[in-house]
Amino acid sequence: MASRPQSDAARAIIGAPTAMVDAPRKTSGAGAYTDDLAVPGMLHGKILHSHLPHARIRGVDAGAALALPGVRCVITGADAPTAYGVLPIGKDECALQPDKARYIGDNIACVVAESERIAAAALPLIRVEYEPLPAYFDPEAAMAAPAAGWLHDHRPRNIEKEYHHVFGDPDAALARAAAVCRNRYVCPAVTHAAMEPHATLARFEPDGGLTVWSSTQVPYYLHKTLARVLQMSMERIRVIKPMVGGGFGGKSEVCPLEIVAAVAARRAGAPVKITYSREEVFYTHRGRPLQLTELETGAAADGTILAVRARVIQDGGAYCGYGPVTLLYSGALLGAMYDIPNVRWDGYRVLTNKPACGAMRGHGTVNTRFAFEAQLDELAERLGLDPAELRRRNFLQPPCRTVNGLRVLSYGLPECLETVVAASGWRERRTGRAAGAPPAVNDGRGPRRADRASAPSRRHGLGVACSHYVSGAANAVDRADAIHSTVYVEAAAPLPAPAGGASGGGAASDAAPPAVAVLTGTAEIGQGSDTMQAQIVAAALGLPLAAVAVIAADSAITPMDLGSYSSRVTFMAGNAALRAAEDLKQQIAAALARRWNCDPEAIRCLGGQVLGPSGQALSFAAAVAAALPPGAAHLRGVGTYSPPREAQGGDFKGAGVGPSPAYSYSAQVAEVSVDEDSGQVTVHKIWAAHDCGRALNPVAVEGQVIGSVWMGLGQALSEEMAYTRSGQLANPGLLDYRVPTILDSPPVEAFIVESLDPEGPFGAKEAGEGSLAAVIPAIANAIYDAAGIRLYQPPFTPDRVLRALQARAAAPASGQAATAGQDQPETKPGPASGPPPPSPAGAPPQAGG
């Protein structure tokens, strides 16, 4: 649906800073999240987790647990043996593992009791007989494991999936490049840590139907998985998503408490609620995988990027999950933000005995983008170019298709870059080392800035980087012909006017009851999807926002939407909502055109009224009444959205991931200082410009952009899933995992760039993920500007910084920057610089040594 010139009425709503329609429920404490629910007779479940990383389960004896007063039942793998997984090719896990535990924290059994305390007390009474198996925690070592160390029999060498993509002739292009950079980057795993721990309440109804309330981002996928594992038809299951306290991808798969609660409720004959502890949330994970990236980029002397080659290994943990999709994203968007004619990408998704990874904000793209944007900084230095200028010389020229077949129509990246370059004072305030200036003098103190008054050991620097993301996946994971989103907009016959009340002719006031209801399957998880659809429908029907009620995510009454992931909702459900509102408007206009004897196209909805071409006017409610067919109680407008064929990408193996109807863009400048005595990196400010097509609600867009930047900042500076040598997660708590507090969080200034996508609703694209990736390389590049050290592994903690500074001091003054940040304690150490070029397609990557 094309963006259109806005009417005044639409302009009052579209683009106006708008409080979320559900804000009062959040700020008053009245809104119900899943764990806030209680139903009569409700029992509580607690899951027993494996304490071994890899073991065959020989038996489970729950006798002592069952004997504890208040315990109702214990369920095990045998109670839910059907394997599932979010991808059709990855149905490799069970809600409770029947025969094998594959990581510390894997799900073995569930106690159902009258209280959570009793259930927790019963857990240690369950006796599980394990037979330990060899366990692997390093992906390169796992790829060399003997068969006894394969996590899944059907995945030899623990390789879940591998892909090899070649576009153009990257080898020839690199051979003629004026400058080529090669590096190995290591990004440890990070996790979502949404503030609301996962929770589910499951209840069987007297008629045998099942109702499940769950903190899910994807009610539809949950619905399908419940039907599969419980062997019920989808019609017999009702999935309701209450308010959700954040997702970031962590609630986009079955986790598996939803299924465990349902199976337990069936066994116990009573409703069962399960709420994870914070520690369980960490073990559930499904976050961003550890990624090893060997990257090579070559450019001509004028800065034109000629080719990029990448070899990516992702440590997916114990189960498939979204794994192949995550992996493909790391390649599909690698060469798609700039005009790069030659791309080669080899990707491996590997299974290890650690919590399974999955989708996390910026799904699959973040770690590759870090590597690429950090490498561009080095390339700019080699070529004597300003890093911002190097990027400018490689912009796409839309409308176009990237070399791997992604269609790009709107492209606000140039404006994003100019915006942050201007706002940050980039030209004047950067040290300018890379712009042809002599390289770092090896005086042990790094480059100096003339305009700096701070202590000599604390050096400021600026770094720039860019990123982008999809506005939803053009191809659904399960069915090629799926309708991605359906929305209904319903208007009921007006109730009789109360005595003395006015009716007809008057505009709806804010105090008026809702005039229309939006029925949508979308999952509001804090990103503002309910508000977005209310705005679009209000604008399209000329109604005030308060006249629109949103009813969402109850499978018994709302139509199907694929869910809140890959930033798809504004683009897809927004278009469906717009089409539904226009369908309703056409029904009203058709009826009034007969009455008014005019062209239906000449009828407008404005200011709570429906207006004819010759001064005719009816209140919206009266117009609905006039348009109702005899005997009908309400009008229903229906809108659907599926991405157009042209946006669905190429037809090579793995081409399904990456295509999107539209892409967002972000450019950022980070200002940091590095304390060379302590190694502490301080981020003073981030300037972040984001092309969201059109900001339907600028408060929400700024909130999403700042929130994304901040989450990337956590990955850059402090966050990391740390594992012990025995595969135990070492930091399963918010403090130990080091989520930044308000005191750790620098100011982030968001700038909105509006490129008006021709297919987005009112021109809108995604805003919730695309800004995350750029901040990590922007900080890395700023650290280089400040201290002359290149860091290849986030988080950029004081110990890593100090090691790099020491290496810089020890390095011969070769004119080359120190590249000693490649400490890789958690993984196989890589070569300090200049790793070998990626191995040939199809060849197994080097095994861990």
């Binding site: 804000a23 700020t27 004072g425 929130g707 708590g733 989520v739």
Partner: protein
């Protein structure tokens, strides 16, 4: 054992197991579910309530230890059904995305403002430093508290610009000189 305290102005007497936490007493026994549980080890602040006017973490207090106390939860601060300036500002300024940290944030901020009607940004940040938000990056939360203060100071119109968030943070940033460049396009320009 019997525990008696005042919750949101109402006297309550509860028969509780001595191990019951204040959070359980509120959420499960009194069904006041506005107070949230984000961890259980005092690391997130989602369970912040006021005990005798002071902010406290309900997940780590025994209910019995609050015998005789005056407890205020998020449900108890609106007056005559009208949300407080702080609550409204969190809604208007984007301070509540998913809303899960919001009750704790609002209570921590209320505790600050009750004792200090004119806090600096640094004081606001210090008061909220035990409350983790995973959605907002805190910028719009700081702006929300600032907006509530501005409303109290009668300057509501000025504070209603979400850009105030960035401005407030810039002030808080201290040593960084503001860039000289012209303000680029923004949705609020």
């Amino acid at each position: 054992m019997i525990t008696a305290f005042t919750v949101n102005g109402q006297p309550r007497r509860l028969e509780l197991d001595p191990a019951t936490l204040l959070l359980e007493a509120l959420r499960e026994h009194l069904r006041l579910t506005g107070t949230k549980c984000g961890c259980d080890d005092s690391s997130c602040g989602a369970c912040t309530v006021l005990v005798n006017g002071q902010p406290a973490l309900a997940c780590t207090l025994l209910a019995a230890g609050c015998d005789g106390a005056d407890i205020t939860t998020i449900e108890g601060i609106a007056t005559d059904g009208r949300l407080t300036a702080l609550q409204r500002a969190f809604g208007r300024m984007g301070g509540a995305q998913c809303g899960f940290c919001t009750p704790g944030m609002v209570m921590a901020a209320k505790a600050l403002l009750d004792g200090n009607p004119d806090p600096s940004d640094g004081e606001i940040q210090a008061a909220l430093s035990g409350n983790i938000c995973r959605c907002t990056g805190y910028v719009q939360i700081l702006a929300s508290v600032r907006a509530a203060l501005a409303e109290a100071a009668g300057a509501a119109a000025d504070a209603a610009r979400p850009k105030a968030a960035a401005d407030a943070q810039r002030r808080a940033a201290g040593p960084t000189p503001p860039p000289q460049a012209a303000e680029p396009q923004s949705a609020h320009g």
